[in-house]
């Protein structure tokens, strides 16, 4: 396969590029941009909750719109897009020794369709009535009846159209990632020699291909309910004493379709994050990842069981007690492979030569937030404990820590870790550490008090708590603390962006393998890697991805493309 760089214009090289590395950067920049929008929306919510009534431009209607858009933006348009589209695109071909994705044109199309979905999403802010305020889960009948929620005219329709477009993009991307991992590996790269990042992205992308269909179907049906006046999800409704003409629909059906997508979606985000975290932790503690096979099996197990737990989001919607029992049990079973992974990360750190640089700090931050967020999920997985906690801030604290903060820890760590390869320059370590400590400590200050608020009975999704006499007065104080922490953590992200932009232009030149890592992306002939990645010959792989600190070896790492050498005494080298 030969690549002709020479005749490419600016447009085909940087804008309509089919190079997976350029597409990865496009995905990342777009996702970070829309993530900033989501961040500002969270500030607005916190301003109202911390200082109710002080900010006159916020009213209950706009609060629900902000809440809905914040949730949808962060989970779908930021986390999913940056982990699969950004990291997936950059890492898969480089880590498995391929020259590009299997279908570069489809890959380019996937990005532009994603951008279109983001534009439609943002357009909803500028239409009459504004974006939808039906909650990020878009439950009908609130999302299906005219005038039931703010933005129920244009807003909800644009939201659904944007989701359908996003699913088309995610399908194109997902087909590419899965096919590339299965079919385009270089010589010697067996599945069980792949770095865990590739495993995580691969399993996450496969899950996306099987989970997004349910959201697509639910979205199409909800769109028909909104556009054509069908009644898939609308039961007999009495509004202001008037019986509506539509009846016979089933609102629970939407919840099933939504969560059949929604729960696997959590793992679509978390599995790639787990993979990236494994890379950070092994590389920067100079130790082979502990229990590689167990890590892979645990991820596969999480993926399979992850499709059988969705109704634990619906315990309070009402269901047959036997169903509740089944979904509680399957939910708690997922804790086992998750715990296997956590122990393996801890045992990887155990007696390692830990380098406390920015990527590693975020790697450790990942373990911490994943443990706290995961453990608080256990009570929520039990029906009996979920019922009183479900509509409180306990749930907000839980999923923000385990899915939001933990995933962002892996994303930030990953961005710092691969920044030298992507740009050819080093980032500023001081600013990076500042970013980490403010984000890490601040995130706990935001979300830890929420567990307390939840146990005290503060309901989530409420615009204000004035009428709730039973709440202790301290809850208002806690809300002020949370708001101040949220403003500071948000501002710290400016440090991150400044660091990225400044370092990409002015940073110190990076060597091609600054972390002394073993995986293939660090062994490219030039940095940043050229179109086609490998020059004349693709690399050949002789060993697994984690040959760190091999006894008897000259240096404390042996790249995957180094053949077995006599310097390693037989029997001591770890082989897979």
């Amino acid at each position: 396969m030969s690549h002709h760089d020479h005749h490419q214009s600016f447009w085909t090289r940087y804008i309509f590029s089919q190079d997976h590395k350029v597409i990865a950067i496009q995905y990342t920049v777009t996702a970070l941009f829309i993530g900033l929008v989501g961040l500002v929306l969270s500030w607005l919510m916190r301003l109202q909750l911390g200082f109710p009534g002080e900010f006159r431009f916020l009213n209950p209607g706009s609060y629900y719109q902000i809440l809905t858009q914040h949730g949808m933006i962060m989970i779908v348009y930021l986390l999913t897009a940056i982990l699969l589209g950004g990291f997936g695109n950059y890492l898969i071909p480089l880590m498995i020794g391929a020259r590009d994705m299997a279908f570069p044109f489809l890959n380019m199309l996937s990005y532009w369709v994603y951008l279109l979905s983001v534009i439609v999403l943002v357009a909803a802010f500028f239409v009459p009535g504004g974006p939808t305020g039906a909650g990020w889960t878009l439950y009908p009948p609130l999302s299906a009846l005219p005038n039931a929620a703010p933005g129920s005219g244009w807003g909800i329709k644009l939201m659904l159209v944007s989701l359908v477009i996003f699913i088309a993009s995610a399908t194109m991307g997902g087909l590419n990632y899965v096919t590339t991992v299965l079919q385009c590996r270089t010589k010697g790269m067996t599945l069980m020699r792949m770095p865990l990042s590739v495993w995580g992205i691969f399993i996450g992308a496969a899950m996306a291909l099987l989970a997004f269909p349910a959201l697509f179907v639910g979205g199409v049906m909800l769109l028909l309910d909104n556009l054509l006046g069908t009644s898939f999800f609308i039961p007999a409704v009495t509004l202001f004493g008037q019986q509506l003409p539509r009846e016979g629909g089933n609102p629970l059906l939407f919840q099933h379709l939504f969560w059949y997508f929604g729960h696997p979606e959590v793992y679509v985000v978390i599995l790639p994050a787990m993979g990236i975290a494994s890379e950070l932790i092994a590389t920067h503690s100079r130790k082979p990842i502990f229990g590689y096979k167990a890590m892979v099996i645990a991820m596969a197990a999480i993926a399979v069981i992850g499709f059988l737990v969705w109704a634990h989001h619906m315990f309070v919607s009402g269901m047959n007690p036997y169903f509740g029992f089944f979904f509680a049990v399957s939910t708690l079973i997922i804790a086992i492979p998750s715990a296997v992974k956590v122990y393996n990360w801890l045992l990887t750190l155990w007696r390692g030569k830990i380098q406390f640089n920015t990527p590693m700090l975020f790697g450790i931050g990942w373990i911490s937030t994943f443990i706290i967020g995961g453990l608080t999920g256990l009570p929520l997985g039990n029906v009996i404990a979920d019922v009183p906690l479900h509509d409180t801030y306990f749930v907000v604290g839980h999923f923000h820590l385990v899915m939001g903060v933990a995933a962002l820890m892996a994303i930030f760590g990953g961005i710092y870790h691969w920044f030298p390869k992507v740009t050819g320059r080093m980032f500023n370590e001081t600013l990076g550490k500042l970013h980490f400590w403010v984000t890490f400590v601040g995130a706990y200050m935001i979300f830890f008090p929420m567990f307390l608020l939840g146990i005290l009975g503060v309901p989530r999704r409420y615009f204000d708590f004035e009428a709730l006499q039973y709440l202790p007065t301290q809850t208002a104080g806690l809300n002020i603390v949370i708001t101040i922490a949220a403003l500071i953590v948000g501002a710290a992200q400016v440090v991150f962006l400044v660091n990225l932009i400044w370092s990409a232009v002015r940073g110190r030149r990076a060597e091609s393998n600054p972390w002394h890592a073993t995986t293939l992306e660090w062994q490219t002939p030039t940095t940043p890697p050229p179109h086609g990645n490998w020059g004349a010959e693709t690399p050949t792989v002789y060993r697994w991805a984690y040959d760190y600190s091999v006894p008897g070896a000259e240096r404390d790492f042996i790249p995957q493309n180094v053949p077995a050498t006599p310097t390693v005494p037989a029997g001591t080298a770890r082989t897979v």
Partner: protein
């Protein structure tokens, strides 16, 4: 000691052949499936699309179970009046026959493609596309007839409004698949005629065939759940 540390390869000797082959394929380097990338991708796409149709049909089942008005009788809704008598499911039987036949012509096209009979392969591809077009045409006729009789996505004269909603949504979505398939097959047919596959081989005909057989197979399920029950 030696007993405990028997390697995977040793143990694999006692496994059945299919399992050994499976493990060998999945643990090999470069390619998991010994097929070209396009074919692998089409199979993965089909699995994903199967979940789309699976979700549609499950949603239809749930909507039908929870409808409060009586569900219309498919034997009556889909009957054709011929002369004096009313023949239930006549049109749909012909439609199904046409679509299933097109799977046959598709298989013949793949065979002629691999045998490098360009003209014959293109002929059978065109025939497949025409049968697909016939199917879509008859579907348009069926929709027109139902709409004339007062069926709408939001209401119908024979009972639960969810009947029309599900019917137009699911057959419409399947019809879109058939229409896309017709365009796809026509493109492949013209490529075959131009001799575009003489060098790179005729796998793309087979890949188009995978898609087409899948669309036909899905129809069998829609036919069974919508028209027979």
């Amino acid at each position: 000691m030696a007993q405990q540390t028997r390697s995977l390869e040793d143990r694999a000797q006692t496994w059945p052949r299919w399992l050994r082959d499976l493990v060998a394929d999945w643990s090999s380097d470069q390619q998991t499936f010994k097929v070209n990338w396009g074919k692998a991708m089409m199979w993965i796409f089909i699995v994903s699309d199967m979940f789309v149709f699976g979700s549609f049909l499950s949603a239809y089942a749930a909507a039908r179970l929870s409808a409060t008005l009586p569900w219309p009788d498919p034997a009556k809704v889909f009957a054709l009046h011929i002369g004096e008598s009313e023949v239930p499911l006549l049109l749909i039987a012909i439609m199904t026959f046409v679509l299933i036949s097109s799977s046959g012509t598709m298989a013949i096209a793949v065979k002629y493609g691999y045998e490098r009979h360009r003209a014959k392969a293109a002929l059978f591809l065109t025939l497949t596309a025409l049968l697909g077009l016939t199917f879509v045409g008859m579907q348009a006729f069926e929709w027109t007839k139902l709409i004339r009789e007062g069926f709408r996505p939001w209401a119908n004269p024979m009972g639960a409004p969810q009947f029309g909603s599900s019917f137009f949504m699911i057959t419409g979505f399947h019809g879109l698949h058939v229409t896309a398939g017709v365009i796809y097959l026509a493109t492949i047919a013209s490529q075959v005629l131009r001799g575009a596959y003489e060098k790179i081989g005729y796998q793309r005909v087979e890949i188009a065939g995978l898609y087409w057989h899948f669309v036909d197979l899905v129809w069998v399920f829609i036919f069974a759940f919508f028209y027979l029950f």
